[in-house]
């Protein structure tokens, strides 16, 4: 799989570090335990489009939000994560 980095161009996935689903919002410290459980543990885990965090570790070291089809690895979008959830 090759990931297009908005800063460095298309690179092999081995240059990147994977974190998992993007868009999970960290609850307030005093939020109920169920909110923390959902944030830390529960995932949609879709077979299809997934927005996810990758870091271009062996490149520009920027965090990216990549939108990828988990069935085909086709990448629809790859943008810098700054300013995005």
């Amino acid at each position: 799989m090759r990931i297009p980095c908005p800063h460095c161009g298309e690179r092999g996935s081995e240059e990147f570090l994977y974190l998992g689903a993007a868009g999970l919002l960290r609850p307030a410290a005093a939020a109920p335990a169920a909110a923390w459980d959902a944030y830390v543990h529960l995932r949609d885990n879709p077979a299809g489009m997934l927005r996810e965090h990758w870091q271009h570790l062996h490149g520009c070291r920027r965090w990216l939000v990549v939108t990828r089809d988990t069935r085909t690895h086709a990448i629809a979008q790859s943008v810098d994560a700054a300013g995005l959830a």
Partner: protein, 382 residues
């Protein structure tokens, strides 16, 4: 009703009939039985876990493996020829000694070997590697391998003979629920009512559980495996490299069967990526330089239900009558007998057996997680 005709689903049906006298059971499988991970794994069986909660379950499973052929009257080719985890540093020796002691406290066998004892079993390893010297290993002699397809066929035949219906090419597309209680399942072959539904869908667990409105503490990841051309008997037992992700055994046909780590990002594609192929081959060459002389015959992938703590779930769910068997990560083949046995018990009695009591779905919310590696809620690192 069991959803999923892999090893776990079929074993569940078998033990429902044999242990609990319940034979009005159907197993629904979207493809053919054994087309998922049951038919794709590297067949290693072992009970070399550290944590209470895990260790007694896998030891229960190893005891069922021991008598499985007599029980099923089917040659599942259970071969207890040893599983050896190699160690390469003093810190690793301490960790393995601790794990070996924990195993023995649970009645399992474990032996700490020094480098000479490892050399006597496997003279062809690269013992003097400056980067990864082999200092010894933790051996479980009762571990080994079994024939994966035969396990599927043996449980399927045993269940079928006790009156279980196995329905292939029947995909579950919805779960009907009324007043918080399961009513039955929608399938590609019509609606089927059922008072109790057990999900055993491995890599597809999140998708099927979502039909009942559940979000699981699971991500799906691909794991690859490899087999070489056949050679004369060379490697006895199963060996895991301790300085990288690589493990190997030899099949009865002579092929060297090996693998490494998951690819590391969510995937529902039953095929892997090249960087992981490289990584596995590098691990193999570091341990066993002669591997480079062999040709690779086949390579494939399967979709793992990686849980947030690396341990499985066998439990009831918040929906009455709906039960969950999931989170097997890369190690659910060895679990097949005990998983079926415990899931049948849990479904029949509506309560867990002591062997699966720690595999609760609510352990993530309560904090009672079973994290063997201590890496936290990071499925791709377990």
């Amino acid at each position: 009703m069991i959803v999923g005709g892999g090893g776990h689903g079929l074993a569940t049906a078998y033990y429902l009939a044999r242990e609990h006298g319940i034979n009005r059971v159907a197993v629904l499988e979207k493809g053919w039985i054994g087309s998922g991970n049951a038919g794709r794994n590297t067949t290693i069986i072992r009970s070399n876990y550290l944590l209470p909660g895990n260790e007694q379950f896998y030891e229960h499973s190893l005891r069922l493996w021991k008598g499985l052929e007599q029980d099923l009257n089917y040659n599942t080719m259970v071969s207890q020829r040893g599983v050896l985890n190699l160690l390469h540093s003093d810190a690793q020796r301490d960790a393995f000694a601790r794990r070996g002691n924990a195993m023995r406290l649970h009645g399992a066998d474990a032996e700490l070997l020094d480098a000479d004892a490892v050399r006597a079993r496997h003279p062809y390893f690269d013992f003097t590697s400056a980067r990864f010297p082999i200092k010894g290993g933790l051996l479980q002699r009762r571990g080994g391998t079994a024939r994966h397809d035969a396990v599927v066929w043996g449980y399927a035949r045993g269940a079928d003979r006790r009156g279980v219906d196995i329905v292939q090419n029947c995909e579950v597309t919805g779960i009907r629920i009324a007043d918080g209680t399961v009513q039955g399942v929608e399938t590609t072959r019509g609606y089927i009512a059922a008072a109790k539904v057990g999900l055993a869908c491995a890599g597809n667990s999140s998708r099927v559980a979502a039909m009942a409105g559940l979000r699981l503490p699971i991500e799906s990841h691909v794991l690859q495996a490899f087999v070489s051309e056949g050679v004369k008997p060379l490697i006895d037992g199963v060996v895991t490299f301790g300085a990288g992700y690589f493990y190997i055994s030899q099949s009865d046909k002579g092929g060297l069967v090996f693998g490494g780590d998951i690819d590391g990002y969510n995937s529902y594609a039953q095929r892997g990526s090249m960087p992981t192929v490289d990584d596995v081959m590098e691990g193999g060459m570091a341990l066993l330089p002669m591997l480079g002389r062999l040709r690779l015959l086949r390579q494939w992938g399967g979709i793992m239900d990686m849980s947030m703590d690396g341990s499985p779930i066998i439990d009831r769910t918040p929906v009455a009558g709906l039960y969950l068997n999931a989170g097997w990560c890369y190690g659910g083949f060895k679990a097949t007998p005990a998983s079926g046995w415990c899931f049948a018990y849990t479904m029949a009695r509506d309560e867990p057996h002591p062997s699966n009591a720690a595999f609760r779905l609510d352990r993530f919310a309560s904090g009672a997680v079973l994290d063997e590696k201590g890496v936290g809620a990071t499925p791709n690192l377990h």
